[in-house]
Symmetry: C2
Subunit: 430 residues, 2 copies
């Protein structure tokens, strides 16, 4: 056997050759063991930035990421022939979809193990939201997760540093070395963590728009297709939805406020909900359920509506909160913090644009300073007709200046004509 | 002042922006101080491999290399208004040109300070050749070099690790990280060492052909033009010759054997010499002299022929050898080592190709094993008519099998028709 040469692998990538799976595995293993130096990995990643990565290379990288750490399995906690389903959002604002769909899909008979991350930049993180529920634990070990799954049929845990640690180390290197942008490496990062987390089926919610990391539909579609193909190559079931993030998805932005929005959705059987938020929850939930139970999406939708109407989705949410140590009673007393300050429109017209990034950043600042039940509530949606003085946002529990900052003209752009309508789901990738 | 961000510099290079001189200087200074990590330098170099380097960037890099170490100056050792001239060969086989031209050009009134390297791959190094002369020292300090220059008008020293150390460190990094090929970085490396060595004028002998690092005329011409322009941007005089390295330049390959070839050229007034070797020496020497004295190349040629004919070039060589501690008496007794073994042609025809790389590697092996007066003598040149049994090479002082290896069909390719003639000097770049 020829000796593994990191330099030769770099040169071949540089010269446009496709690396073999064993090249990629050898390189990553060498990096983790110290045989491949930081500067060699940095050089390979920059060569890959210019040459791009083939799907074979990305698959090998994903396998290398998975094998670099703990790989969870829930087969002992599951019945015969059942599989776990997980979902992943590429990150949005006012996006409490996970809190709704995990118990809802579980209430329909699927096993849902959701491994989540924390807030990143302007986007919210499911883990931060859940931690607003007093007593609730998210730092569950693999066996604790399995126990919650066995009891409740679903669980939401923090994706710990033991899952795919190679990805974290390589991401930090790319961040230092200016080679971050790469759809292939994003796909490898997302898919490897889900697979290390034991998912048998994965639904990807790829957000697109000014509030998302993917700014164009073409880019979002490329990432969606890549993640679905990659997941299937790894032997798991997958679907992706490309959904809108031109404005905040739900009406509430914060941590506890988003939990409250999810709770109200389940309590009201979907009646008290923003239509865009509800549509996204329905689309993600039906994709998850159809993958988990291998039923049609039509059948999945029917089962989901039944579980929403008969209260079993809400009951499953209660069971989940309790199983993870959270106080359901305190959650039921959740209310937006006082004072409530309104930010109103300075002119009449149509809402043409709502800057989700600015609102997301503002809500994060408010929560950090004023607590989990403080935050932002959006009162005007893109396309809405407003007059001078019409409320655009309400800011809960924060100092007075936040209301004017949230309602500023750079956040809410008002024009003379309404913009064209946008769908909630642009495309489903199977 | 904005804080220097290595990551931003890398990203800008990656995205095709030209870096400013202060970006480049800041990056290299940070690398040397430890503020810029190995992996960041590796990442920048790979981005530069794909984007290329502008002449402004290369000039800044050259300045960063020069300032990273000692900078020699011979102004105290020189008379009013005189400047030092150096030459650099990109590396060849049977290329003892430096040993001829340094004393020859000095004999015509120029001040020649030649800083040389060691053998690299299949090519010979002037330092290794000089060390075959008993007693001769090449590891001269700056002040020792200046003293030899003051006494003799010329000196040949080893380019020590204190000259442009940043280049050495970055070359080693590129070597580990697969980002070696770059004409711009080669130019920065060569020019920075010459300028750190105190050269006011530089002649570049860019070798092209199967025995050289530059394989095509286009590539050699690009490097030649780049080095000349870069040297002029650095405020020094420069010329480049693009010369042939499709076969060994001189007839002898080794260390002591090449010293002998240079000695015989000077002793015979140029009469006992291979015509190709002599032509290259004349071209390089006249370029050096015309730059050093700011005279026409025609006048330079006339002065050179006079110094060759009247023995002053030879006398200068003797003075140089003696001033650096070498034994002129022992050098005069140099003779190719015994036994002399002939490698003969196995077929009749015309010599179509002589593999300089294989002969260079073979000669190096022979010298390493059998001493400095062992080596290879080429008897047949490309284009020569040979019969079965015509000697192709003589191997001096080595075991018998080396003669057949040196005369093997992959070294000497014999065909039915002569190949087209090739010039010695393809182009002069001013």
């Amino acid at each position: 056997l020829a000796e593994f040469s990191a330099r030769r692998v770099i040169e071949r990538k540089r010269d446009g050759e496709e690396l073999s799976p064993s090249d990629v595995l050898g390189f990553v293993r060498g990096y983790l063991s110290g045989a491949v130096a930081e500067e060699q990995m940095a050089s390979l990643l920059m060569a890959g930035y210019f040459r791009g990565w083939s799907e074979t290379e990305i698959e090998a990288l994903t396998r290398a990421y998975v094998e670099s750490g703990t790989v969870l399995s829930f087969s002992d906690a599951l019945g015969e022939g059942r599989r776990t389903v997980d979902k992943h959002s590429t990150g949005g604002v006012g996006d409490a979809v996970s809190l709704v769909v995990v118990p809802w899909v579980a209430a329909c008979g699927a096993v849902v193990v959701k491994l989540s991350g924390r807030a990143l930049a302007h986007t919210g993180g499911t883990i931060d939201k859940l931690e607003s529920i007093p007593g609730l634990r998210v730092d569950l070990s693999g066996s604790e997760l399995a126990e919650v799954v066995r009891l409740v049929g679903c669980a939401i845990g923090a994706a710990g540093p033991e899952l795919a640690p190679a990805d974290k180390r390589i991401y930090a290197l790319r961040d230092r070395c200016g080679s971050v942008p790469s759809l292939g490496l994003i796909a490898a990062s997302v898919v490897s963590k889900k697979i290390a987390g034991g998912a048998d089926a994965i639904v990807f919610d790829v957000k697109v728009g000014c509030g998302a990391f993917m700014r164009t539909l073409a880019e979002a579609a490329e990432l969606a297709r890549l993640m679905v193909r990659l997941t299937k190559r790894m032997g798991r079931a997958a679907m992706a939805l490309i959904t809108d993030m031109e404005e905040p998805l739900g009406l509430r932005i914060g941590t506890g406020l988003e939990v409250l929005e999810a709770l109200e959705f389940l309590q009201s059987g979907g009646a008290v909900a923003d239509p865009r938020f509800a549509a996204c929850c329905r689309a993600v939930a039906s994709a998850m359920l159809s993958l988990a139970l291998e039923v049609s999406e039509l059948e999945a939708r029917e089962r989901l509506e039944a579980a929403l109407a008969d209260g079993s989705a809400l009951a499953r949410f209660e069971a989940l909160v309790r199983a993870q140590g959270g106080s359901w009673e305190q959650l039921l007393r959740f209310a937006p913090a006082a004072p409530v300050l309104e930010g109103a429109s300075m002119r009449g017209g149509y809402v043409r644009r709502v800057d989700a990034v600015l609102l997301g950043e503002l809500a994060r600042e408010i929560v950090d300073r004023f607590g989990p039940l403080a935050g932002v509530a959006v009162c005007a949606r893109v396309g809405d007709r407003v007059d001078v003085g019409t409320p655009l946002v309400r800011v809960h529990g924060a100092a007075a200046d936040f209301a004017s900052r949230a309602a500023a003209a750079e956040v809410f752009e008002i024009g003379d004509a309404p913009p064209p309508p946008r769908p909630v789901v642009y495309e489903v990738v199977r």
